[in-house]
Symmetry: C3
Subunit: 144 residues, 3 copies
């Protein structure tokens, strides 16, 4: 992880926080097409659990559509929490956003469980006045 | 849930975050009268667990006063965490704030437990320079 | 705890959030020397679990260096989450920051556990354009 040394201006920081909230609300509601639009068409996602990164919005959306269908069938509600956000401007239209993310899962009648703890490093680009994720690198904690 | 499409200006976003922090600190310390003042006198709270919504600041405060007395008797510390906040301005004095909220409970000598995961949609109004909650709609995850 | 009554300007609020993110990233990566520089040289940390507060950056760093070595030996990943931040300006270079903090621990092959829930009150000073912690008072929930 590259720790941010330059600080983002306040308006940029708030805008990125608001973007992530809307991004996570969409995936947790299963609105996968709209969620897909929070990535650039050529976006990539990689993580330390899967040797094959996902390339392109269509591939990314397909994975999440399957996941959401499985959760819906079992009545499980996911909530993605992102926090400890550091934002570093790279140029006028690009920032690096480093954060922690938790996946919280609630099964009917049970208490919420923390499924996963991660560190997330995104490169975001400004497109038509809102952010899109161009690259996402996720580190899952606790891989054996 | 209505997902936010318009983004709040940065000064407004930070102000709403700070408001929620103070709002949650008050309830978790049992300062229920001051907490009540973070609602409008005619505020309503509704959720998917209880068919009867609470109407008015007095009714809202009465419920929480009982809850806090029970917790204090058992030595349980509640911490309300709110996150993934999206803020949408409705007019010059009103915003819709959509967020996730966790209730974390710690019993003496035990590790903290997540009691409840929720999605929260508030309508906030600006009164004398600070926010008040006019309507709160809470969705509790995992109701059987 | 002193609950904040005055609200911080937006630029200050965002800057403090970004500071805490970088502060927590450093400690969770074990970059203890750089983390130490987020405290003033004469900083103090106190909490309700230990009658002896730590005085000075060197003492603070020494404690965390030992903790991190133990975690690394056991393969445990800590993630410090801070939230519900209220920021109150005290003067042009000083703020009081009141927040909640969670310690999340992940052991290889296991799900993440919340080790500790706390309330944290820091006094931050602006030094060369970034914040440093001058005093930290932590309240650990659930002490028997």
């Amino acid at each position: 992880m590259t720790t941010t040394t330059r600080t983002a201006p306040a308006h940029l920081y708030a805008h990125v926080q608001d973007f992530y909230a809307r991004h996570m609300h969409l995936v947790d509601e299963g609105r996968v097409e709209e969620w897909g639009e929070t990535f650039t068409p050529d976006a990539t996602i990689s993580n330390n659990a899967n040797p094959r990164p996902a390339h392109g919005r269509d591939a990314i959306v397909a994975v999440i559509r399957r996941t959401h269908a499985e959760l819906a069938a079992r009545g499980i509600q996911h909530r993605h929490w992102m926090g400890m956000l550091a934002v570093e401007p790279l140029d006028d239209h690009t920032v690096r956003a480093t954060s922690y993310a938790l996946l919280l899962a609630t099964t009917p009648g049970a208490t919420p469980q923390i499924d996963r703890s991660t560190r997330c490093e995104d490169e975001l680009v400004l497109v038509n006045g809102d952010w899109q994720i161009r690259t996402r690198r996720v580190h899952h904690d606790g891989l054996a």
